[in-house]
Point group: C2
Chain length 162, copies 2
C-alpha cells in the first residue's frame, strides 16, 4: 500500500489546485470607519454552463483518523467548491493532479485552524475529512443543470499519514 | 432618540430581506457514503451586471455593545452579501425596508451562534456588529465593475437595544 505524507497547507503548495482561504498574506483594507478589516477576494467562485448559480450550503462531516485509507476522489468539472471550517479545528485536504482524465498520485495537506480551501473546477479531491471531531463547514459551490460530479476509485488504496 | 428592540433572528422574520444561513429546517441529505450531511442551498449568491463574479473574503470586525447607536446603513444594488461567523458567537443584524430609494425604520435581529445571514441585492443593512468580541466572518459577495455601494445616514440616530 503506497503512503502519502500530509504536508502543511500553504498557498504556494496548493496553488495549482486552488486557493487557500486565510487572512495571512491577503490583500486587506479597512472598511466601516476603520472598525473592520476586509481581507479581500481570498477565493474566486466559478460557475460554468448555462443557468448556473453559486450556492451557500453547510456540510456536517464525521471525522477521520490518521493514518487514513484513501480510495475515492471526485471532481466537479462545472464549478469551484470552497470549504471553510466553522470551528477552529484542523482538517485533511487531499488533491490529485489530472493525468489524461484520471487522477494521478494524491497529495495531502493538513489545514491548520483558520484555513479553508477552494478547489478550482475540475480539480480531483478527496471527500471532507475533519480530524478533531465532527466538522461543520460552510461550502460555496455550483447549483444548476449539467453533470458536475465525476468519481474515481483508485485500484489500490493510498495510506495518508500525518 | 427612537429605540429598536432586537428580536431573535429567524428565517420567517428575515424572509423579506434575505436568507438565514443555518442548518435547522434546511433541506439536507447524506453524501460521501453517509459520512457527511449536506444542508443544501441555504442561500443563493446573486451577482448582477456584466463581468461580475462571486468572491470569498474574510472580514475581521471590532465588537459593539448594546445599546448600539445606529446612524449608517448601506446597500449593494448589484449583488447579494452573505456573512457567516467563523466562531460560535452572537452578532447583531440590522436591516431596513426600502421606502422610495431610502431606508425606512430599521429592524434589528440577534443572530444566535451558528446563524449567518445573506442579504439580497439592494437590501439596506447595518455594518458588521459582532457582540461578544472581535468577530471573524466569511463573506460571499460580488466583485466586478459597477457602482455596488450606496450609503445612507439617518438624520437622527436609532438606539438598538437587546
Amino acid at each position: 500500500m503506497s503512503e502519502v505524507a500530509a504536508q502543511p497547507l500553504s498557498a504556494a503548495a496548493f496553488a495549482s489546485f486552488g486557493e487557500v482561504i486565510e487572512t495571512p498574506g491577503a490583500v486587506h483594507y479597512p472598511i466601516n470607519d476603520g472598525r473592520c478589516i476586509r481581507h479581500h477576494a481570498l477565493a474566486q467562485v466559478e460557475t460554468l454552463g448555462a443557468d448556473a448559480s453559486a450556492l451557500i450550503s453547510i456540510f456536517v462531516s464525521q471525522p477521520v483518523r490518521l493514518p487514513y485509507a484513501l480510495s475515492l476522489v471526485e471532481r466537479h468539472p462545472l464549478g469551484s467548491q470552497a470549504f471553510m471550517p466553522l470551528q477552529d479545528d484542523p482538517f485533511l485536504v487531499i488533491v490529485a493532479p489530472d493525468e489524461g482524465g484520471a487522477p494521478g498520485a494524491p497529495l495531502a495537506f493538513l489545514a491548520a485552524p483558520g484555513q479553508g480551501v477552494n478547489y478550482r473546477p475540475g480539480v480531483w479531491h478527496g471527500v471532507l475529512t475533519p480530524l478533531a471531531r465532527e466538522g461543520r463547514f460552510l461550502v460555496v459551490d455550483r447549483g444548476g443543470a449539467g453533470a458536475n460530479l465525476e468519481e474515481f476509485r483508485y485500484a489500490a488504496p493510498w495510506t495518508v499519514t500525518g
